[in-house]
Symmetry: C2
Subunit: 323 residues, 2 copies
Amino acid sequence: MDFGNGGEHRHGRVLVVGGTHGNERNGLWLLDQWRQHPGQLNRHGLALELVVGNPAAAQDNRRYLERDLNRSFSPELLSDPNAQDYELRRARELLARHGPEGHDPCLVAIDLHSTTAAMGNSLVLYNRQPATLALAAVLQRRLGLPIYLHESDLQQSGYLAACWPCSLVIEVGPVAQGLVCGTICQQSQIAVETALEALSQARAGAIPLGSELVVHRHLRSIDLPRHDDGSPAALVHPRLQDRDWRPLGAGGPLFLAMDGRVTALIPEQGEASEHFWPVFINEAAYGEKGIALSLTRREVLPVTAGWAASLTALAKRLKRDLP
Amino acid sequence: MDFGNGGEHRHGRVLVVGGTHGNERNGLWLLDQWRQHPGQLNRHGLALELVVGNPAAAQDNRRYLERDLNRSFSPELLSDPNAQDYELRRARELLARHGPEGHDPCLVAIDLHSTTAAMGNSLVLYNRQPATLALAAVLQRRLGLPIYLHESDLQQSGYLAACWPCSLVIEVGPVAQGLVCGTICQQSQIAVETALEALSQARAGAIPLGSELVVHRHLRSIDLPRHDDGSPAALVHPRLQDRDWRPLGAGGPLFLAMDGRVTALIPEQGEASEHFWPVFINEAAYGEKGIALSLTRREVLPVTAGWAASLTALAKRLKRDLP
């Protein structure tokens, strides 16, 4: 995505979004609490914009009304005058208001999600923008968070966070849709406050990032085996359930049919056959997308000087929260 | 509920219902599997009726369309000619077909549910019909299942299972709505097969029940603290989350507000103040009912000879599954 040239010297705030999916209620709960009790969130001196991503879906406790808002931020869709779903109109509105080029611009986006998969407290990145990698490196160094680098997925794109030059998705689970759960909220809040602390420190000068960033890079997603009529013919193997982020070797169990037949993991051509790291195992909302889990490859990225420089330059343009 | 007199000598089948709530998909999955692969369910020689409780809601992956089907089986609603919600029409249809007085009668109802609460593999009973208590006693003896005796709740009534003279709700969790999870299915199937085995043994003669049945008897439900506008002012305390079936003393933590304030458990007048056993802690579907958890009292019921006699008499009228 082209972030334009005009905005490179503009100042802006940090966007914190909850309820991009209206039935992921932990982020919505936190936004409500932080609005009612501003003292309950340590802003580390930064000016925030707290926004409900999909207010109509949140009202209905549904993921979305007409289409997934978090697959609606693609340039093709946004620029199509005939595409007028509620979520597309909302995506345009969010960008017009708080995009990097918006009326009231934000330079960083933190998008709060939860999942029915046992992802723990984790981060999702959609690209390798240096400021994003730098911020993720700080969170991984301080909190040990695993990172799903969800890039180069031709089937899934149009993510909200990818529209900002520095962004994080904080993804916490397992928690059912529609449910507010204390530990999920606590984990989300810790990640938000650590990100704000890092941005504040970057704003004040250099910030130590460590020497490497461990990411789990997206390879491909796998659907359940299905009958001819599209109905599932097996379920996620009980030995795989809740094993997000744990290595799974070639031949490892993926699915179990009622008659006991096991579908094993078969590497595709070109994939080295040692180990894969599955993520988003049995996320309830992904059934309709034909995704029972996604396979990743664990990779270590060396931290470059450019990452910290990029984050620092961007953080210096962050507005302060003047009391 | 009056089960009538005419049916006492009729023969009938065992009704197994999944998807009474359309987004509790483990029971739906099992029904599909058992229909496709009848050999995958040990029927113990009994004729079954496998029924999707709320097919329209299941189609939409929603709990219900117009009203909760599992609160629609009250005599007042069923007999009200002006009450024509989809779920009321479906309740009447199920009773007309497979009620104890129906065209194709069933004598026992087993209703498969799942919950976002950490209830484990458990049973819910709505009354103390002797055949129901007897069947529950066998399952508790063989599988150790805890039992929520959900009786005398003026706010919640109209349950499907309560319309049959012998019934069980098999309630398994935690699992998110909309999700099929192998271990949840396995636990449900074990409970169903054990119930069918018990009915088959009762049909063949006496069945040993043990000397006592431990139940957790419903006392009352508790809602979240709420603001004047109805929005929640606190969440389930993280120290209570997932502690279903564990004793909670007076003064124990119920809810936690963002500012750290704790709502403690205060016994009501007439309640002895030692211990309560909470169940359905933070069930996602109960928010709209104003229920954050229910309190129970653990009680030991002595098994009486009448229970086994009642179950045996009923089981002798069960049709066999002739190959």
